[in-house]
Subunit: 194 residues, 2 copies
């Protein structure tokens, strides 16, 4: 099992001793998810914070017309969870499935809490990444209110260049909040303009 990536991820914000590293990884469980398989369904209770080491996940809801709306992609080195359900331990509205065959590490809510008491630095770590995530989400709310579809596509291209190559276009459409048909049009215009 390869913990190098998650250790590097954590080390961006806190410094760990060898003992603390070992203690941390002992709380993790690894899992493999095949393309199109789910790791969380809506109406389930989310038990884990999920860290992606390989492949790519997506978190999305389905509206009452049956359309999918993607809240988040999780390529390698990213965390994903249904935060509402994870915190409240009530059934959530997020589906998480694999866009490609994917390897993940799972940190259960219980283990996370133990980790916080055993190694308080981790409380600091999760505060920081939660803050960063909050900042990104607030900006996304504003972008969705102030920008046109074309501008949102441009922002996505700048912000997630690796995802642009990796993802089918209709998933990007579902993330920026337009239909695949309209994104196709928007994209054609966007590239004509340069």
């Amino acid at each position: 099992m390869n913990f190098a990536l998650i250790i590097k991820n954590v080390s961006k914000h806190i410094h760990l001793t060898k003992d603390e590293e070992n203690h941390f990884v002992s709380f993790l469980k690894d899992e493999k998810i095949k393309r199109k398989e789910f790791i969380l369904h809506e109406n389930e209770i989310c038990e884990n914070s999920i860290f992606v080491t390989n492949g790519c996940l997506r978190g999305y809801t389905i509206d009452h017309h049956g359309f999918e709306h993607i809240l988040q992609f999780a390529p390698p080195d990213w965390w994903i969870a249904d935060m509402y359900s994870l915190i409240s331990q009530k059934p959530g509205n997020l589906n998480i499935d694999a866009i490609e065959d994917t390897d993940v590490l799972l940190l259960s809510r219980k283990n996370q809490e133990k980790l916080f008491t055993d190694v308080p630095k981790f409380e600091h770590f999760f505060r920081i990444i939660t803050e960063n995530s909050l900042v990104a989400n607030r900006q996304r709310v504003l972008d969705n209110m102030t920008l046109t579809a074309q501008q949102r596509f441009a922002v996505f291209c700048e912000h997630y260049p690796t995802l642009i190559e990796r993802l089918p276009q209709k998933l990007i459409a579902s993330y920026i909040g337009v239909t695949p048909e309209f994104l196709s049009k928007v994209k054609a215009e966007y590239f004509r303009q340069r």
Copy 2:
């Protein structure tokens, strides 16, 4: 100076001794903001987490057509800040001004950091409220993608009944992401339907 409200707010998530309470409030600075006065302008660096004890603030951006888009209201018992700027200590894009004459308590970034080392429980507290805020923002992203203007208005009514009475309609329009004219129409239909 009245610290009862902020102590009660903090006590929702952590338990403080008398000493810790006193230590905490010694870090706070109080300020009064008149209606229409600013406490933060865009392109400034946000130095404080702001806690409202009285009145009401709003956080918003201005787009390149000069239209305002409200990200957040802060009635009494709420925290507000330009999280991006506060964390990065770079110039932000949020304006924060007062909708009514408002009393606030300010916790500077520096004092907050001191607080975390002096009383680690506060790191826990801020992790929790940041998580809650993240959950609300993620849901807002999804609501904006999946709901019609009328449904978003209904959600706002349910979620913030006190604000509905308190705020002029055009501010609610600016929060849910429609023009005041369209909200007027939407609202008329909404109430006709019950």
